[in-house]
């Protein structure tokens, strides 16, 4: 019986691999649709994932978010503010033109001459004092402030071809349009393909909004060429139809099937899935900056969230493992810090944040709230995976230790605008640290707000710890990696100890695909077709 099973299995694999060998095209069901082919249009994950197929940058972020060489072979610091990038001399654009340092300078200029973009672009360029092409394949960048993360930041700026508009001699002269005489390309020029000329593993064939995106292999790609002649992305926002499309064979791979539907994939002999922990942390943000806070009710009108014992009690009241097991169906990891282990600046083997409701009650009593208090908890219901369910479970845990919690879960657009207006006392957010590891969350959320330094922009709870600020500001201006790691770990530990923010879990991303394909998965949740391989080709 067992042997029969095995034989059937082999036959199935054989027939499937035969199928792969003949048709070298790939159709992928996307969970969320990219809005443009223009890599500088809107900095959101679906757009970034698409444009990385067509364009390349000086560096690239690997699956674990470490920066690796791409268009630049190597880079060095001459001093804290001067960087030299050695570019590859064997790269051509998809229209056949040669890539050199002028294309990079043109790209920087387009970042600041980018009227069709959503949100501001070019904050990295704003920090550049000078950019100079020493020779066609050597680029020297001088920054205004020390920026140790420059290679990481530049790995996110996809390089365009200077040939997409008319120009004279290109130089980093922002006031005089850098030598460009024609019109700066707009998002439409990219979407219709005329400006979508890059050095990525694929070239754009067709971009039809709401329907599909077709790519073909770039035969001149300088890196490892992808296995696929053609790749088609089909956006299918609802999880149900996306899974149905995979089950019926319409798609070879889908992004993020609902974790609860994994059982369907496991039952199916022709399908497999892979999951990767992402760098997105789900956390609680508390209003600690105000002595009276609108959504907390206590007898004396005080703000209990200002007391570290109360914050610790809240953390202890929450059973992170139960949330991961019961709500996330195991596709998440309990978070004991703000970035996952292994990322730059993460604490190695952080101490577990224990679940201990009894001790939580003791701590509350010690802090002067033996009968707890009343709290309204705000969360999204359509932004993060199972967000309103997670929030309900947290409300359940808090109520059980005496903090009577009302949950108000709302749609993301309302939530985000109210949160930035500092309307909430206690809310649940999420943050994916893309570049710079630990620094990303800490400088954005935990640091005291300081617009001049561009830090603390999301510190909606008014958290302010001068000792912490000192460490983090030193960390983000330290070039030496070993020293920066140490400082970041120290800052991360301080943030966890003071519990100004309470980490809950890290989301995992799931990719489901037909047997015979392999995909490792990525921390940034991108689906990159050139990283998908098939058994047949190996």
């Amino acid at each position: 019986m067992k042997r029969l099973h095995l034989m059937a299995g082999t036959a199935l694999v054989a027939s499937l691999s035969a199928g792969v060998a003949t048709a070298e095209s790939l159709t992928i069901g996307l969970a969320s649709e990219p809005t443009a082919v223009d890599p500088h249009y809107h900095d959101v994950a679906p757009n970034n994932a698409l444009t990385r197929h067509i364009f390349s940058a000086l560096g690239a972020l690997d699956a674990n978010q470490n920066v690796v060489p791409a268009l630049a072979k190597s880079w060095t610091n001459e001093d804290d503010k001067t960087w030299v990038f050695n570019l590859r001399d064997d790269v051509t654009f998809s229209d056949g033109s040669k890539f050199d340092a002028d294309d990079v300078i043109f790209t920087f200029c387009r970042q600041v001459n980018n009227e069709s973009a959503v949100g501001a672009t070019g904050k990295e360029v704003a920090n550049m004092a000078a950019v100079e092409a020493v020779d066609p394949y050597t680029l020297k960048i001088t920054t205004k402030e020390v920026e140790p993360l420059l290679p990481e930041l530049l790995a996110q700026i996809m390089v365009l071809s200077e040939g997409i508009t008319e120009h004279g001699d290109i130089s980093f002269d922002l006031e005089n349009q850098c030598g460009v005489t024609g019109a700066w390309p707009s998002v439409e020029d990219f979407n219709n393909g005329s400006a979508a000329i890059g050095t990525g593993p694929f070239v754009l064939k067709d971009f039809t909004k709401g329907s599909k995106i077709s790519l073909a292999r770039n035969e001149n790609y300088f890196g490892t060429k992808p296995e696929w002649d053609e790749v088609t992305f089909v956006p299918v926002p609802s999880a149900g139809p996306r899974l149905a499309g995979l089950l019926s064979g319409d798609y070879d791979m889908i992004e993020n099937p609902a974790a609860r539907d994994i059982v369907q994939i496991e039952k199916n002999d022709g399908l497999e899935y892979t999951s990767a922990s992402s760098n997105r942390v789900i956390f609680l943000q508390m209003d600690v900056g105000r002595d009276e806070t609108p959504f907390v009710e206590t007898e004396d009108g005080s703000n209990p969230l200002q007391d570290v014992r109360v914050r610790k009690a809240i953390s202890m009241a929450i059973d992170r493992q139960a949330i991961v097991d019961r709500i996330m169906d195991g596709f998440a990891e309990p978070a004991y810090q703000f970035i996952p282990d292994g990322m730059f600046g993460a604490i190695e083997n952080p101490a577990e944040l224990e679940y201990n409701p009894e001790k939580a009650k003791e701590l509350l009593a010690e802090a002067g709230y033996p009968d707890g208090f009343k709290l309204t908890f705000h969360a999204t219901n359509d932004r993060y995976i199972n967000d309103s369910q997670v929030a309900q479970a947290i409300a359940q845990f808090l109520t059980r230790v005496g903090i009577q919690t009302d949950l108000d879960a709302m749609t993301r657009s309302i939530f985000f605008s109210r949160r930035s207006g500092r309307e909430f006392s206690f809310s649940m957010g999420g943050w994916g640290s893309s570049e710079g590891g630990a620094a990303s969350f800490l400088r954005q959320y935990v640091t005291t707000g300081n617009p001049d330094l561009g830090i603390g922009g999301s510190n909606y709870g008014g958290w302010s710890d001068p000792a912490f600020d000192k460490v983090i500001i030193e960390a983000i201006q330290t070039i030496d990696e070993a020293k920066r790691t140490e400082l970041l770990q120290q800052a991360e530990q301080m943030a966890v100890d003071e519990m100004g923010f309470i980490p809950i879990h890290f989301e995992s991303s799931i990719w489901a695909f037909r047997k015979g394909l392999n995909y490792e998965g990525r921390k940034d949740q991108y689906t990159l077709a050139d990283e998908i391989t098939s058994d047949a080709a190996n």
């Binding site: 999880a239 149900g240 899974l243 609902a258 609860r260 539907d261 059982v263 369907q264 139960a322 949330i323 019961r326 709500i327 219901n381 359509d382 309103s388 369910q389 929030a391 309900q392 479970a393 409300a395 359940q396 109520t399 059980r400 919690t405 009302d406 949950l407 108000d408 879960a409 709302m410 749609t411 309302i414």
Partner: protein, 320 residues
Amino acid sequence: MTDTSQQLTGQQALGQQGVGEPVPQRRAPIGDTPQRRAMLKRLKRRPSVKGSLIALFLIVVIGLTLPFFAPQNPYDLTSFSVMDNRLAPGSESFEGTRFLLGTDQQGRDMLSAIFYGLRVSLLVGLVSTGLALVIGVCVGLVAAVMGGRIEAMLMRLVDFILGFPTILVALVMLAMIGRGVDKVILAIVVVQWANYARIMRSAALSERRREYVEAAFNLGYGKPRVMFRHIMPNSLNAVLVVATVQIASAITLEATLSFLGVGVPVTQPSLGLLVASGFDYLMSGDYWISLYPGIALLVLIFSLNLVGDRLRTALDPKRS
């Protein structure tokens, strides 16, 4: 023998509860007319209506005596645990509680959640219809009796409100004012009162030309008195029939809004919200989270509609 007779009286009792049918032996209450009596007779003859009345009666009883029936208080976050989530109907929890209809993704007992959900539905249906009725009747009457500029203004306002799709207006309102049963009721009143105003006005307009109204005016009664004491009682029939059907549509509207995620708070689920949260799990085979609240909603709305529909037929002047 005894059993049957008891059952019969029981059913009669149900009929009386449901529509307030006068007991034959007693003197007819004020306002009772031969037409009305004939109507009730016609109503009672239909077995489907009888069934609906029984269902409605049971739902009302459950709604009123909730804590006694429901094994758990699904609005009390400490009474259930996420460790019991998504258990199939009939399973037992760690502590040995049995969940007859299973649990939802927070570990709530579905049976209790449905009972509480029915109560919310009824409350929303009755209160919002009642309030909308009062506002609509007053506006309609004033418009009909005052006439002129006031009428034009009021009726254009009514046209304006009726011109928008109901759900859209309610969605926008709730997005602005937030969640909660009281807010849902407010939203439903805002979108529904105009219906009553329009019907009341047309009924009152035709009554206004009757001689008894003229007589009342000639006797020197003021407009308010003529409006509420003379015209209103005579033009209320049509509005009341619409109201019975509108209770069902108010309940549907609440369920729809909750399904779309703007109605009641997630920690106090109504039937619509229960269906919505179970909807995500249909592909995984956890059908009970959506199915049973759906059935409960269906029975409630179907019964209300059936009774309302029969009431309309029975009250149709062309048939009497």
